[in-house]
């Protein structure tokens, strides 16, 4: 229990330290990739919604993965709660 508490406190301190150290809210350090996407998304993916063009085009492979996660989770839930009990 004591070890757990120590881990927890250290970890919390860690995360808060990281949050303080990150760039000030709203003032980006670097935005090369996103600026490119914002300016070129309409031309390259023919869509007005830049977020959708990132989701389905620039990072469409991630979305395929995400669809797979959902598919796997639902398959897992159906396996867990299925009727027959196998010995």
């Amino acid at each position: 229990m004591k070890a757990k508490a120590i881990i927890f406190v250290v970890f919390t301190a860690f995360i808060i330290y990281a949050a303080i150290k990150v760039h000030p809210f709203g003032e980006l350090q670097e935005s090369k990739m996103d600026d490119y996407i914002i300016t070129h998304a309409q031309n390259e993916t023919a869509a007005n919604n830049v977020v959708t063009s990132v989701v389905f085009d620039y990072r469409g492979y991630d979305t395929l993965g995400e669809a797979t996660v959902l598919f796997a989770a639902i398959g897992g839930a159906l396996i867990t709660l299925r009727k027959e009990e196998e010995k």
Binding site: I15, N48, V54, V55, L81
Partner: protein
């Protein structure tokens, strides 16, 4: 530093979730804890992508006078968050069905009723 309040809030959210996962014995509370961590991390991503005074990066009926790209918030964190929210839903669905099954077996939601820990 004081402008980092959103980030610190997010960090505290993660810490609350972690507390629930590490110290609570009720399985449902563990699931809630994981969901809170998940939300914290998602919010962290979103807040990272904020640009002062930015609007959503959508060109449909964009108000005139918005500078491109300086006037828009970053689209990539929003896309990442969308992906990770879906993953969160999937994990939650699976976790709840495990909890239901365990409840059917053990008739208890207490993680210490068997040797379950974590």
């Amino acid at each position: 530093m004081i402008w980092n309040v959103p980030f610190i809030t997010v960090a505290l959210l993660i810490a609350i979730g972690l507390y629930a996962v590490m110290f609570k014995r009720n399985l449902i509370k563990i699931a809630i804890g994981i969901t809170i961590i998940e939300s914290g991390v998602n919010l962290f991503l979103i807040t990272l992508g904020y640009r002062k005074g930015g609007v959503a990066p959508i060109y449909t009926n964009l108000p005139s006078g918005v500078k491109v790209p300086e006037g828009m918030v970053l689209p990539v964190p929003q896309a990442l968050t969308l992906t990770s929210i879906v993953i969160g839903v999937a994990v939650l669905a699976l976790m709840l069905s495990f909890i239901m099954k365990m409840y059917q077996h053990n008739k208890s939601l207490d993680s210490h009723s068997r040797r379950l820990k974590g």
